[in-house]
């Protein structure tokens, strides 16, 4: 809608409470509101995709104090004076994949993340679906990258030794009369949008493939190119491969300020010293807008949207083997995902996520209602689904802008900046393709850089003994007896694998760090049996007392030191 019409609408609806101005392709909405959902609807109504303007939210939220970005407690000068060619801010799937692609070049790369590991926010808190793009129309950046990203997964996951399966996705319908409409819809997707893998299958065929689905499904769209991956596993693998190729990753490192002179970032302040990079890549997830602001290049706004997923016991894994969701008549409603069901690469069923707007970027708390909501919906897909099989649940916060599309471009006012921002679903799917484009932009921006001769795209992960034949397993144990000592009984993980992870290119010696790399603690006992053992192995490997081992962040203390006169056995 054009500006005049928008102003009129806002006046009609809200009186003079909100004003909107437009300059240089940016619509800025101002005012004050105590209702976060009101702010979302005001800003959303300002979106004008036709003219490609971005919406910036300057409405003051008075409903509750908005928490400041959580900062690591670490303070040192480890990075002071560093002059990397490229500084990547954010260690999610975007930042890590960009670091890896850029590590082909003979340049200094520094990736910083404020958390204690990679993939600690959205990239570690999603369902891991590699989307087929069936819901995307031509014209958006999401659509531009989806096919390329999706098709790259086989190769990328092979190079990085990350489990990936193309298990296919079913979008299921209960109403037979919708079939002609959906047939036209998929044909349009194929002919106009290039999403060419979809086929319609009958209810009978669906029943044959997924016998535990709702018997009243009359037909389904089948997208064979859909798949799933372990999202944090892939992020860590990208990061490790970047480190193998010379990139530096500094965790517990937060960007708190920038100095911009003549449209150029000259220095970046962190809790570990001041960095003077040639160029900066903003891949800061929910904080990308804050980074853009520091860089004097804010032209989009992020409205956090949280979602909760539940993970089921592997015993319930036989319920289904693919990805599925039930669809009613709500195709245009692109971002209110009711979630779905997905059988992960590790054989657990994952249910969710829901979608709730929030002003809190880092509140990962779960809520009873989210689980009830998701299960209520998903029992429509697989009636035998039950909350009793839940072993854990988690919340992630997505980073959409009001346009609900990615921002992947060079800085508009700041010349040595690249934005890889507003990445939400299907950002995991598109990441491999986006990283290649950002690599191009960065190389162009740097000018005169050479490719490395010895770039190694192959990352070998820690061997997964539980998936091996007895002969392979025996051979490995003969080489290293630690592989024969099982520490995590639920997921069958050995001491040797844990020590390998501690010796990996990006060592994160915390209980959660090991958990994300290998899965001890992700099984049905949730670490009840193995967490003391894992803690002890970390302490021994690092040469520190048990009380100095952390769950994740620096303050996530596990024990408070020796008991009265206690000597450990």
């Amino acid at each position: 809608m054009n500006l005049k019409k928008l102003e009129k609408e806002l006046r009609k609806k809200y009186g003079s409470r909100f004003t909107v101005s437009e300059s240089e392709g940016v619509r800025t909405v101002s005012g004050e509101s105590g209702d976060w959902n009101e702010i979302i609807s005001v800003c959303s109504s300002a979106v004008d995709k036709k003219h490609g303007v971005h919406v910036v939210n300057d409405i003051k939220f008075t409903g509750a104090p908005v928490p400041a970005m959580r900062l690591p407690s670490l303070r040192d000068n480890a990075l002071d004076g560093a002059q990397p060619d490229v500084l990547i801010i954010g260690g999610g799937i975007s930042g890590a994949s960009i670091a890896r692609e850029l590590s082909k070049w003979d340049i200094d790369i520094l990736l910083v993340d404020k958390e204690s590991d990679l993939a600690m926010q959205a990239s570690g808190r999603n369902d891991g679906e590699v989307h087929p793009g069936i819901d995307l129309s031509k014209g958006s950046l999401k659509h531009k990258y989806i096919i390329r990203g999706n098709r790259m997964y086989g190769k990328v996951c092979e190079e990085l030794n990350v489990p990936f399966k193309r298990c296919g996705q079913y979008v299921c319908f209960e109403q037979a009369y919708l079939k002609p409409v959906i047939a036209i819809y998929t044909l349009k997707r194929k002919l106009i949008d290039g999403i060419d893998d979809s086929v319609l299958i009958s209810g009978k065929e669906l029943k044959k493939r997924e016998p535990n689905f709702n018997k009243s499904f009359k037909f389904a769209i089948y997208n064979p190119m859909a798949g799933c991956v372990c999202p944090y596993g892939l992020t860590i693998a990208y990061g490790e491969n970047a480190v193998m190729n010379g990139a530096k990753i500094s965790l517990n490192t937060a960007v708190t300020d920038m100095k911009v002179e003549n449209g150029k970032i000259v220095s970046v302040t962190t809790n570990r010293g001041i960095i003077r990079p040639k160029i900066v890549i903003n891949a800061a997830g929910v904080f990308a807008e804050d980074i853009a602001k520091m860089a004097c290049d804010r032209f989009y706004s992020i409205h956090p949207r949280r979602g909760t997923n539940s993970i089921l016991d592997k015993k319930a894994g036989g319920l289904m083997s693919s990805i599925a969701s039930i669809k009613k008549l709500e195709f245009s409603n692109s971002h209110t995902k009711g979630g779905g069901l997905l059988n992960t690469v590790h054989g657990n069923i994952l249910a969710g996520p829901d979608a709730v707007e929030t002003y809190e970027k880092e509140n990962f708390a779960t809520h009873r209602e989210s689980i009830q909501n998701v299960f209520g919906k998903q029992k429509g897909t697989a009636p035998a689904l039950t909350e009793r099989d839940i072993i854990t649940y988690f919340t992630g916060v997505r980073a959409p802008n009001f346009e609900e599309d990615f921002v992947i471009e060079k800085g508009r006012k700041t010349s040595n900046l690249i934005h890889c921002a507003c990445i939400q679903s299907p950002g995991l799917t598109t990441a491999p393709a986006v990283a290649l484009d950002i690599e191009k932009m960065a190389v162009e921006m740097l000018g005169n850089v050479k490719k490395k001769e010895n770039f190694n795209p192959i990352r070998k992960g820690v061997p997964v003994l539980r998936d091996m034949s007895p002969e392979e397993r025996d051979a490995l144990i003969k080489q290293n007896p630690d592989y024969g000592e099982i520490v995590c009984r639920c997921e069958e993980i050995s001491k040797g694998e844990i020590i390998d992870a501690l010796n990996s290119p990006l060592c994160v010696p915390t209980v959660d760090g090991i958990k994300k790399r290998l899965r001890p603690g992700m099984g049905r006992c949730q670490g009840g049996f193995c967490s003391p053992l894992v803690t002890k192995i970390i302490a021994e490997h690092q040469g520190i007392p048990v009380s100095q081992v952390r769950k994740s962040g620096a303050d996530a203390v596990i024990t408070y030191g020796k008991t009265k006169g206690g000597e450990s056995l």
Binding site: R70, K315, E362, N363, F364, A365, T366, H367, R368, I371, I391, T392, Y393, F394, L465, R466, P470, E471, R473, D474, I477, K478, P481, D482, G484, E485, I486, R489, E492, S494, R524, C525, Q526, G527, G528, F529, P532, T535, K536, V546, S547, R550, K551, S552, G553, A554, D555, A556, V557, I558, T559, Y560, G561, K562, T563, K564, G566, E567, S568, L569
Partner: protein, 413 residues
């Protein structure tokens, strides 16, 4: 070489089973996941073990030691620090695959005795929401940190659930100088043994709050507080009753689940009431040659009975031979939570069958009635019955010729 009996698990049930099978002439091997025998008893340094069996109060390690000494004296074979990766039925027995520091290997055995114990229910299984900080432990994990690693897991904590391990840990942590703010129990009655309520809570002035539960945890890194809610008679939190308690630890003692993943992989059917295998009078599961005992069979509250069931299974495995069975069911009905065993073989000697059972709720004067059709087999009066306190009885079933039912008749609520 083929064994007569392979015992999986070297805790009290497995040790007793192995010793008894060996004494009955079987060639036995015991496989234990950890480096040392004794199972969970290793970390149970409090006393109270062995009152029934030995007539004295022993600590967990002392109790285990009696069996370990005998096991070693009898020179029974064992594989320690060995993890069973799978069990397969073969033509006339079982093939057990395992890994240990020497490699991946397998053995064969005519029978299997599953003595795999149980695991603890977790925070997410009792629907606790909020963040995921450190400082949330199951009671057994906290006990491991405290007693085996010698590390203090909390300084100021709340305990959810009045199961025995929770009560024991309330006392243990208090003795270590931690502050235990209270024990919260969602049920209207305590879940642990009466003696533990007295010895672990009352003696240390630790309050017990019934019909309360933890609904939320707070803290981004370490736990900073928990939200407590009152619950209704269906144990659902009542909105508006929330209070916040500041603490750095939450210890969960919210139930134990028999570990039967290996059993299930063999096709063993579980009893939904016990979550352990449904067994006959010799503690043989629904799969010929596979026996179950201890906490894998059903959660016990006294180790003495864990050993007893281990011995029963060990004896039965030693004398096992494939035979035609003529099963009748033993059903726990009115007033009973469960009864083990769940069936009897009419071809077997049923003159002295040990049955274990629990009532569904706290009862005053009541009568246990076991009947076969119209025929009364047992009629026994009790002064009271409480679900946390398992009952045990030896019954002569030799007169039974059809399905059996057991029920409780209440004379006084």
């Amino acid at each position: 070489m083929k064994y007569d009996a392979a015992v999986i698990g070297g805790g009290p049930a497995g040790l007793a089973a192995a010793i008894e099978a060996h004494k009955n002439g079987a060639k036995v091997i015991l496989i234990e996941r950890e480096a040392r025998l004794g199972g969970i008893l290793k970390q149970c340094i409090h006393d109270g073990f062995g009152l029934v069996r030995f007539g004295k109060k022993l600590s967990g390690p002392e109790y285990a030691e009696i069996f370990i000494d005998e096991f070693e004296k009898e020179n029974i074979e064992s594989l320690l620090l060995t993890f069973v990766t799978g069990i397969k039925k073969t033509g006339d027995g079982f093939e057990i695959s395992f890994v240990n520091r020497s490699g991946a290997d397998k053995i064969e055995s005519n029978t299997i005795i599953l003595a795999t114990g149980c695991r603890e229910r977790t925070a997410k299984q009792v629907s606790i929401h909020g963040t995921r900080p450190s400082g949330v432990f199951t009671a057994g994990t906290a006990q491991n940190f405290t007693n085996l690693l010698g590390e203090l897991p909390v300084k100021k904590c709340v305990i959810l659930g009045s199961g025995d391990i929770g009560l024991i840990m309330a006392r243990r942590l208090t003795l270590e100088g931690a502050q235990v703010l209270g024990v919260y129990e969602a049920k209207p009655t305590p879940s642990g043994l009466t003696r533990n309520i007295h010895q672990c809570l009352h003696d240390y002035d630790i309050p017990l709050y019934l019909s309360h539960t933890v609904t939320k945890v707070f803290g981004d890194d370490r736990l900073t507080a928990v939200e407590i809610s009152r619950v209704d008679e269906k144990m659902q939190p009542i909105p508006g009753t929330e209070t916040i308690v500041e603490c750095d630890g939450l210890i969960l003692s919210v139930g134990l689940i028999p570990e039967n993943e290996l059993a299930e992989s063999l096709g063993v059917k579980l009893d939904p009431a016990t979550k352990g295998p449904s067994c006959d009078g010799s503690l043989m599961t629904g799969i010929e040659g596979v026996f179950s005992c201890g906490n894998a069979l059903h959660v016990n509250d006294l180790v003495d009975y864990v050993s007893e069931s281990g011995e029963q299974a060990g004896r039965a495995a030693a004398h096992y031979s494939a035979a035609k069975r003529n099963y009748i069911s033993l059903k726990a009905e009115n007033g009973l939570l469960y009864m083990v065993p769940q069936r009897l073989d009419l071809e077997a000697d049923n003159s002295a069958v040990t049955v274990y059972f629990r009532s569904r709720e706290e009862l005053g004067k009541c009568t246990l009635k076991i009947k076969c059709g119209e025929k009364t087999i047992v009629e026994k009066k009790y002064q009271f019955m409480r679900p946390p306190e398992m009952e045990r009885l030896t019954v002569d079933f030799s007169g039974a010729d059809g399905d059996i039912t057991a029920e409780i008749e209440v004379t006084e609520k």
